[in-house]
């Protein structure tokens, strides 16, 4: 009795897990200087997984494989690639952090990063709510540990907070899964869709499920009011981990959100889009306003991340290919900007985690013009000013929301963007127009600069030539099931 297994769409995860296990054993058994080997193993895993993912772009088999657990559509491919890109950059940043401070370093960083990545690539392809939950836990547990890995007080505290609140939100999600099962008798997302289509009358249970699932995933994407953990965790976690998780977690959780809601609960979209719109509105406003009051760059970027979650949710209110495409574009653009900006945060001074306050940015242009220019680019993009990717992304999601009739939400988004522009411009002013007060030196290490260059290139290219990825994003927005 051998089941018919098509493992091809699952190869990226298999590769990542294999690399992670190799790394784990190596960490346990090897002695002496270990980071080059760790880095090589992890990089190999990510590169091979990316290759395997890329090959899936033209996958012609069933929409779901492995007993309906894994979806094979292009959404899964594109989101996986984005996650893997983020993981690649996170790896570079993490390696640099270890080189800089070998005493506080843990070799477990590498396998944990790979496990987290596995959870993320799995969740974007998960076609069964149980698998979604499983992947959610894999990525969350890995991230909890990654957050607290350095063992500093702030990191441990952030890790514990993240864990407690994460467990809380997982409970909501799990409850939602149970409700879906109660309403439809299945946890497979395509079957949920079929069960809900054409059903008339009482949908209360399914709606309750939708709300609970939205809460669970809303926590992961740091949508307000489920965002409270974000500033503390982003600030407390090592900057390399923050960079990785701010981008990759968002991509992963949003891809899952898209699959669960736009496939599974498509029939109920008139009922859940107002919920998404409400979350979007609260996130956009709270994120933008609270970012203003921050004096720490990492906290500021954390609130900005909340606002950006709101913008992406704005695109999803359309619940059609336009909206999904716009949100996917936004996710790619946001990943590049946020990784880039956190990478800059990591090397602004040689003192790493000690100096993430805004004062460290005074006169950065004088100290390190390239770094200041890159940071300015990321901030301008976060603010949504042309000709950067952030501008195109915002135009896309607002357009989608207006097309779906959520004019007020788009308007609110524009207003919030204007308010938030102050946040970003303030840093730019500090960097370019203020004289440095202290003798700080930026970190000249090459690895973070590579990540920064990658981010900057993506932000610029997507801003100047959005047409290059329009086709990819649009074909990924067409969901197959």
């Amino acid at each position: 009795m051998t089941p018919d297994l098509d493992l091809v769409p699952f190869v990226p995860e298999l590769v990542l897990v294999a690399a992670a296990i190799v790394g784990l054993l190596y960490e346990a058994l090897a002695r002496g200087p270990r980071y080059p080997v760790h880095l090589a193993v992890a990089l190999a895993g990510i590169v091979v997984a990316s290759g395997a993912t890329l090959a899936l772009w033209r996958y012609g088999g069933d929409p779901t494989v492995l007993a309906g657990a894994i979806a094979t559509d292009r959404l899964a491919v594109l989101a996986r690639l984005t996650v893997l890109g983020a993981a690649f950059c996170g790896l570079l940043l993490g390696t640099h952090a270890i080189e800089r401070d070998p005493a506080a370093a843990r070799g477990e960083f590498f396998p944990l990063l790979l496990f987290a990545t596995t959870g993320m690539t799995l969740i974007v392809a998960a076609a069964d709510l149980i698998v979604v939950f499983l992947a959610l836990e894999v990525l969350s547990l890995s991230l909890y540990v990654l957050t607290g890995l350095p063992g500093r007080r702030a990191a441990s505290e952030a890790s514990l907070k993240y864990f407690l609140l994460g467990a809380f939100s997982s409970a909501f999600f799990l409850y939602g899964v149970a409700m879906v099962y109660g309403a439809t008798g299945t946890t497979r997302i395509p079957e949920i869709a079929n069960a809900l289509v054409g059903r008339t009358g009482e949908q209360g249970l399914a709606l309750l499920a939708a709300a609970l699932l939205l809460i669970g995933l809303g926590f992961k994407v740091s949508a307000a009011p489920f965002h409270m953990w974000t500033p503390d965790v982003y600030q407390g976690a090592p900057t390399s981990v923050t960079a990785f998780m701010s981008a990759a977690t968002k991509v992963a959780a949003f891809a899952a959100l898209i699959r669960v809601f736009d496939v599974g609960l498509q029939a109920l979209r008139w009922d859940w889009t107002p919920l998404v719109a409400a979350l979007a509105a609260v996130s956009v406003v709270l994120g933008s306003v609270l970012a203003i009051a921050q004096a720490d760059v990492k906290r500021m970027l954390a609130y900005s991340s909340v606002a950006h979650a709101g913008f992406i949710l704005t695109g999803l209110t359309a619940s059609n290919a336009d909206g999904i495409g716009a949100s996917l574009f936004y996710l790619i653009a946001y990943s590049a900007m946020t990784i880039g900006s956190f990478a800059v945060v990591g090397v602004t001074t040689t003192r790493g985690e000690d100096r993430t306050d805004l004062d460290a940015y005074r006169g950065l242009y004088r100290r390190d013009p390239h770094l200041a220019a890159a940071m300015a680019l990321f901030l301008v993009s976060l603010a949504g000013v042309p000709p950067t990717a952030g501008f195109i992304a915002k135009v896309g999601v607002f357009g989608a929301a207006i097309g779906a009739g959520y004019v007020w939400l788009a308007l609110l988004g524009v207003l919030a963007s204007v308010a938030a522009a102050y946040v970003y411009l303030r840093v730019i002013v500090l960097m370019f127009m203020v004289e440095p007060e202290e003798a700080l030196v930026s970190d000249p290490a090459p690895l973070p600069r590579i990540a920064i260059a990658i981010g900057a290139a993506i932000v610029l290219v997507l801003g100047l030539f959005p047409g290059l990825v329009t086709d990819l994003v649009r074909s990924a927005a067409v969901l197959r099931w």
Binding site: S169, W229, L275, A278, V289, A293, F465, P466
Partner: protein, 637 residues
């Protein structure tokens, strides 16, 4: 207008190289921007080589294009989809036809010579590499402007050119005057650009696309007269700004604050010709309106006379040339206003040669005299700077319209068309303008090169290095021979351009030979008169000028237009700004802003109070949020 009926040619290996024409200067700009300092002198050669290679490529591509039959001389290279929002799409398309072919040859050809010249001229400047990066960017943007297959790409190039002009005019920003000139150029052209942007929005609204083919092909059929007039005038606004036509001309005389190669590039090859190109390219839109072309004609005519007379009384050698450029551009607009597009383009090409030559010659003079720009301090340079003087004198003769040099044919044809299409007044004023040009350029030559040296600097002037002299010689040959392109109105260039811009208008009037003879006479007489007044020593020209006061002073100040702008536009604007800033803004708007900001900060403070750092309060907020969401669900179901 038959442009839209051209059929697009298939890609051949040579035509496929078209994208490299703008890409090469842009790539070189990027290299110089990042590594210019390290490259040192090589930066200049790299920049020159990039533009030179672009010129060679342009020549190859254009030759390939002209090998095709006349109605197939169009090649559109689709690089990628640039923007796609729903049904609206803009491609990154390069469009090569006779019009853009002419432009790219001029831009890259003259541009190359200016680059080589600049290697000598900028020697020793601390920001040598940076300068060449901007110069390359300038040329690249201009190439993008003329090669763009749609209005948006054209606009990108347009803005790029504007940005580069700002950077280059203010290149020596250590002097406040230079920085101010740069700002003036940027702000003034910006006024036109805004009009143009509105025009583009109109086009999108009316046509749903910005591609040249559908817009220009259907302009006559789609647009009502009112709409055509609106779009044409808005586009004209952009052209007036960029081409320094009255009333937005004020930036160009100041723009010579930049290093001389920049002036040459702005005046000859890039920037200012963009306006003429835009009008010629958009001709179908202008023709669909009953009033647009007459307005173009009037603008050109006024500008031509205004700037020509202003040039008569300038004392700064570069300012003479700047006003001269404005005047010549007025000529081009005049021609375009009479539908004589080919004649406008012919003058554009010819002008590119002799104006580049004159500017580089002037630069060489300034270089040789260690920065002296005042004509009154020069004199007798012919003996001390023979190559510079001889070549510049060729440019002078060419500009004045001495047969058989470039402007003789070009100007003559515009006047002939004016005469033959029943516009005697235009013809008469145009002829007057021709006389004025001969006078101001003759004055420049006489004061600078002839007579005796009037200062120590003039006595000690020395010839410039070969990198500066060689481009002068090349340009002199071009200025002398450019007339051969189009000896009669329906000549070779007009014939080549005909598929794009339509046939040359013609009719009856005074016989062409008579007009030409008159034109030649005007040039010779004008030059001779200036020689008598300024160089022969028989007339005390300073006395003469003093007796004519206040006319020379008025002309020297550009008819007080700048002063009037200062008095009636700038001062009231500043006063209004001060009022708004001091009273309205401080009390009203700022009060409001502070109130809002206070509110935001207040909210942020409350937010911080909630963000206590305690997990239990976080979980509580989470719970409240969840309950609110569930209530929302309950309320809806």
């Amino acid at each position: 207008m038959v442009g839209a009926e051209l059929t697009s040619a298939a890609v051949t290996p040579t035509l496929g190289l078209l994208w490299l024409v703008p890409a090469l200067p842009l790539a070189a700009a990027a290299v110089n921007l990042f590594w210019g300092r390290r490259l040192k002198r090589a930066a200049g050669w790299l920049a020159s080589a990039a533009v030179g290679a672009a010129f060679v490529l342009s020549a190859l591509v254009v030759a390939e294009l002209f090998r095709l039959p006349a109605q197939e001389r169009l090649f559109v290279q689709h690089l990628f989809d640039w923007i796609r929002v729903g049904a609206f799409r803009v491609g990154a398309d390069l469009r090569l036809d006779a019009l853009s072919a002419t432009m790219i040859l001029v831009v890259t050809g003259v541009g190359t010579l200016i680059h080589v010249y600049a290697v000598g001229y900028m020697e020793g400047d601390p920001r040598f590499g940076r300068f060449f990066a901007y110069l390359n960017l300038f040329v690249g943007a201009m190439l993008l402007l003329v090669l763009g297959g749609n209005y948006l790409l054209l606009y990108v190039g347009w803005e790029g050119v504007g940005l580069c002009s700002y950077l280059l005019i203010g290149f020596w920003f250590e002097e406040v005057a230079n920085a101010n000139a740069a700002k003036k150029a940027f702000v003034t052209t910006r006024i036109g650009d805004t009009a143009m942007l509105v025009g583009l929005a109109f086009i999108v609204w009316r046509f749903g696309t910005l591609d040249f083919d559908p817009v220009l092909g259907r302009a006559g059929a789609t647009l009502t007269e009112g709409a055509a007039t609106a779009i044409a005038l808005l586009l004209l606004g952009g052209a007036i700004g960029k081409s320094a036509q009255v009333p937005l001309h004020v930036w160009l005389p100041d723009a010579m604050a930049g290093p001389t190669p920049v002036s040459a590039l702005i005046h000859a090859a890039t920037m200012v010709t963009a306006g003429v190109y835009l009008v010629v390219r958009s001709a179908p839109i202008f023709e669909a309106s009953p009033v647009a072309l007459p307005i173009v004609l009037v603008v050109g005519l006024v500008t031509m006379l205004y700037a020509g007379t202003s040039a008569l009384a300038q004392t700064d050698i570069k300012r003479v040339l700047a006003y001269s450029t404005i005047s010549q551009l007025g000529y081009m607009f005049m021609a375009a206003g009479m539908r004589a597009y080919a004649a406008a383009m012919f003058l554009l090409v010819a002008h590119a040669f002799y104006k580049a030559l004159l500017f580089l010659g002037a630069g060489s003079v300034i270089h040789g005299m260690h920065g002296e720009q005042d004509l009154r301090a020069m004199g007798g340079l012919l003996r001390r700077m023979p190559v510079t003087s001889a070549t510049t004198l060729v440019g002078v003769a060419a500009l004045a319209g001495v047969p058989p040099l470039a402007a003789f044919f070009a100007k003559d044809q515009i006047l002939e068309i004016a005469n033959h299409t029943g516009r005697p007044l235009v013809w008469a004023l145009g002829s007057l303008g021709a006389l004025v040009s001969a006078l101001y350029v003759g004055r420049l030559a006489a004061l600078a090169f002839l007579g005796r040296a009037r200062s120590r600097a003039a006595e000690r002037a020395h010839e410039s290095p070969p990198t500066m002299a060689l481009p002068l010689v090349a340009l002199a040959v071009g200025a002398a021979a450019a007339g051969a392109l189009n000896v009669v109105p329906e000549g070779r260039l007009a014939h080549l351009l005909e598929p794009v811009v339509g046939a040359v208008p013609h009719g009856e009037g005074i016989p062409a030979w008579a007009l030409s003879t008159l034109g030649g006479l005007i040039a010779v007489v004008g030059l001779a008169a200036t020689w008598v007044v300024y160089a022969s020593g028989r007339v005390d020209h300073e006395m003469l000028a003093a007796r004519l006061e206040p006319i020379p002073r008025m002309l020297g100040a550009g008819w007080y237009v700048d002063a009037a702008y200062e008095r009636f536009v700038q001062a009231p604007t500043l006063a209004a700004a001060r009022f708004i800033a001091g009273v309205l803004d401080a009390r009203g708007v700022d009060g409001l802003v502070h109130a809002i900001a206070g509110g935001v900060v207040g909210i942020a403070r409350i937010g911080r109070r909630i963000q206590t750092g305690f997990v239990r309060s976080y979980a509580l907020v989470f719970l409240f949020g969840a309950i609110a969401l569930l209530v929302l669900v309950g309320a809806r179901s």
